[in-house]
């Protein structure tokens, strides 16, 4: 049953499609998320409003966000990537911002006393010490992005959501079980990789 579904639904290719979408979305999310976090660190008066807006976006149901983008972006790959980004930027941006602003005072004090300029303190002290928290944010983003990309199957983006939709339409329990479980396993695997990277960074840059 497993092999059969795997073959007819081309789960191998779909998995590659799926993971490449997740990967592309994540790269953009990390880039923009950390960028927003650093921007907010420089403009703290904007932090409340920006983080609140991102927070509201995150409460919108994933599928709704996806279909609301359709009038602007059509169907398929584009709205799926954009929805993933909109949905997952908050944890990265917020954790970056919090990580940068909450560096222990003693490190800032000694950095200033050594004659480091604010920019040097940002690059050599604040960002490295914020990395564990940023990684935790990225890990949440990975989970969200997996969720949104799976839904992308419903609007013809490819990936593993497609076979599930097929399974439900045909009421084919084999397809549903195999694909559903495979997505579950894949999600847990990807999340464990995220957690492993987070631990590594924690060991390297954590406080204790």
């Amino acid at each position: 049953m497993i092999l059969n579904v795997w073959k007819t639904q081309q789960l191998g290719i779909k998995t590659i499609e799926h993971l490449s979408m997740v990967f592309i979305a994540l790269l953009i999310i990390i880039f923009i998320g950390i960028g927003i976090g650093i921007f907010l660190y420089n403009r703290r008066n904007l932090s409340d409003i920006v983080l609140n807006i991102l927070n509201v976006i995150e409460t919108i149901p994933e599928l709704v966000l996806l279909v609301i983008l359709m009038p602007f972006l059509g169907i398929g790959f584009k709205p799926t990537i954009v929805a993933s980004i909109l949905y997952s930027i908050l944890p990265v941006a917020r954790n970056t911002y919090v990580g940068l602003t909450q560096v222990d005072q003693q490190y800032l004090e000694s950095a200033r006393a050594m004659g480091l300029a604010e920019k040097e303190i940002l690059w050599h002290v604040r960002i490295p010490l914020a990395l564990p928290l940023i990684a935790a944010g990225v890990r949440i983003a990975i989970v969200f992005t997996m969720g949104v990309v799976t839904l992308g199957g419903l609007i013809a983006a490819g990936g593993l959501g497609g076979p599930i939709q097929t399974g439900i339409h045909l009421y084919d329990k084999d397809i549903i079980i195999v694909t559903g479980l495979w997505i579950g396993i894949l999600a847990v695997l990807v999340d464990s990789i995220g957690s492993w990277i987070e631990k590594l960074l924690n060991r390297r840059y954590g406080y204790d």
């Binding site: 409460t59 149901p61 599928l63 609301i68 009038p71 009421y171 329990k173 694909t179 559903g180 997505i183």
Partner: protein, 201 residues
């Protein structure tokens, strides 16, 4: 044009589905958290499970309900509960557990028994955490209840899916826009309540 009654009807179905699932989950999760306070094995199993399940996409959870319970309202409510019960449990459990031992000890000192400590010490202390869990679960329930239309549970998602099959964007939006408004109202009202709670404490 689309009948306003159809939309209202869909909103009703959506809310009923999401909130019955939320209600049932709370009723199940809190006793589970209390039992876990006194059963370390159960607690650690559920916590590990909670972290694993959190990573699984909602769509996969909804799909898996079909081979188990078929289509319709029942598998839909089951899928939502599956999605939110563990986060609810996790918040309630950590809230009840993470209380300074000093308070428990002094409560014992003045002669409170286990139940009284739970009622008068642990619960008030855990309330903000439990509430944060409920807020989180409500957002997810609202989101998954859209998806469950795919397995025949009706609601706003049904308008979206019908629109998608005919590529009828206005119809998609008649489902999507009310869903978005509900989500935002939900977040705003929960945030207001949360603020009031934190003011009281």
């Amino acid at each position: 044009m689309i009948d306003i009654n159809i939309i209202l009807n869909a909103v009703g179905e959506h809310l009923f589905l999401a909130y019955s699932a939320l209600f049932i989950s709370i009723i199940l999760a809190i006793p589970l958290a209390i039992i876990s306070l006194y059963n370390r094995y159960l607690a650690s199993v559920l916590l590990v499970l909670a972290n694993l399940v959190q990573a699984i996409p909602s769509f996969a959870v909804v799909a898996i309900a079909v081979p188990l319970l078929g289509i319709g309202f029942k598998p839909a409510i089951f899928a939502i509960i599956l999605r939110i019960i563990l986060p609810l449990f996790k918040n309630a459990y950590t809230g009840l557990k993470d209380i300074d031992f000093f308070y428990i000890d002094s409560a014992r000192g003045i002669g409170l028994n286990k139940m009284e400590i739970l009622r008068y010490i642990r619960f008030p202390h855990a309330f903000p955490a439990i509430f944060a869990g409920i807020k989180f679960a409500a957002v997810i329930a609202n989101s998954v209840a859209i998806l469950t239309s795919l397995i025949g549970a009706g609601g706003l998602g049904e308008l979206i899916f019908e629109g998608l099959t005919n590529f009828n964007i206005p119809k998609v939006l008649t489902g999507a826009i009310p869903a978005m408004i509900i989500a935002i109202l939900l977040d705003v009202s929960f945030s207001l309540i949360e603020k009031r709670i934190s003011l009281e404490n």
